[in-house]
Amino acid sequence: MSWSKEDMVRRAAAEIVDGQVVNLGIGMPTLVANHLGPERGVMLHSENGILGMGPFPFEGAVDPQVINAGKQTVTILPGGSVFDSALSFAMIRGGHIDLAILGGLEVAKNGDLANWTVPGKMTTGMGGAMDLAAGARRVVVLQTHAAKDGTPKLVDTLSLPPTALGCASRVITELGVFDPAGDHFRCVERAPGIEEAFIQQMTGAPVRFV
């Protein structure tokens, strides 16, 4: 049985090493925060200018001037700091963010990532996605394995405009965990009961299994 969204998010949380500085992308990656207890010592970075971002505030304690990059009201944990956008992206490009967990539209077998625009559709703009993809020390992508019509989203070469080249180290989908390995994807974990043949059928590039 393929993993639920909740399973995928939990699996993504397992990518984080205790004490790391992590940026969680907008959408499903944001939910990873729900699986990070304080005992893990993980510092969340929000690119609009927070290091040490906390959970949503309690009702009645909302501060309109404390928001995350998705413009949701959040909190700042003890030990957290705030700063301007240039410093925030210096952290990202300068290799000070250990891990970014980002949403994806397509990942190619060489690690190229597309997650910001679809030709013919109104673009939202890339926001901080290109900086995060190019700058974080490690990029893990959280996305569905294929489109609703079965079109693979793990592909040979991107059909969509790239966000950054060769940046993705790992892709977590509802079918398993996949590492771009140059000329193929290396499947390092399968969701329970998912056959290798099915994964290969749903993937747009060769898959090797460990």
């Binding site: 939202t124 703009g125 926001g127 700058g135 966000t163």
Partner: protein, 235 residues
């Protein structure tokens, strides 16, 4: 008195020189940290054919989106359009030109504009649509993209505390692009929640030295709109 008096009563005197076709840099992130009274004054004055440099150019019909609604804007340089239907519609209709710049590149271009840097090489955007028409260069085994600085005629800035010398202190995530845009304009106007006397701000607590600020005024009762009010239940 030879010292320039930067304190004004409101945005009117500070923005009186704003003309058609000028470029305005605006701080803030979405609807957070906006110079609300400056935006309202630009809407009232009504200059047209403006270029706006801002991460979002307003959102959800508010903030700088008011200037879009009034068709005062010809061109926007930003990183994100999502959540801003006015910008999306006018961009799709060809009424407003949009130059998308990755958020970190946008921030650094503005910083460079204020810091006298003629350009910088960044890894962000290499091999993407952003790289089109730009010089790329390999430096110590990695490819980079040449990005050029941004400057403007006016910058509108929101800060929590200011003093008569224009020294500013920001609050939480209302900082974002505010100190950067302040550096990159010919005329920088700061609206502050609280104006304190000379020497009241400790030098170590000043986030932006007043050298970057031309006008400062105190403004109360900001709307501080919330785009997504997210909360958790009390235990």
């Amino acid at each position: 008195m030879s010292e320039k008096n930067k304190v004004v009563t409101g945005p009117g005197p500070a923005l009186a020189g704003l003309r058609d076709g000028m470029t305005v840099l605006a701080g803030g992130f979405g609807l957070c940290g906006n110079a609300e009274f400056c935006i309202a004054e630009i809407a009232r004055l009504g200059p047209k054919h403006l270029t706006i440099i801002s991460n979002n150019c307003g959102n959800q019909g508010q903030g700088l989106a008011v200037l879009l609604k009034q068709r005062q804007v010809d061109r926007v340089i930003c990183s994100f359009i999502g959540g801003n239907p006015d910008l999306a519609e006018q961009y799709a209709a060809g009424q407003v030109k949009v130059e998308l710049s990755p958020q970190g590149t946008l921030a650094e271009r503005i910083r460079a504009g204020g810091a006298g840097i003629a350009g910088f090489y960044t890894p962000t955007g290499v091999g993407t649509l952003v790289a089109e028409g730009k010089e790329t260069r390999e430096i110590e085994g990695r490819r980079y993209l040449l990005e050029k600085p941004l400057r403007g005629d006016y910058a509108i800035v929101r800060a929590a505390v200011g003093d008569p010398d224009g020294n500013l202190r920001f609050y939480r995530t209302a900082r974002a692009f505010n100190p950067l845009v302040a550096m990159a304009a010919n005329v920088t106007v700061a609206e502050v929640d609280r104006l304190v006397g000379k020497g009241q701000l400790d030098p170590d607590d000043i986030h932006l030295p007043g050298v970057f600020v031309d006008y400062v005024f105190e403004a109360h009762e900001h709307e501080n709109p919330i785009e997504f009010r997210t909360t958790r239940a009390r235990p």
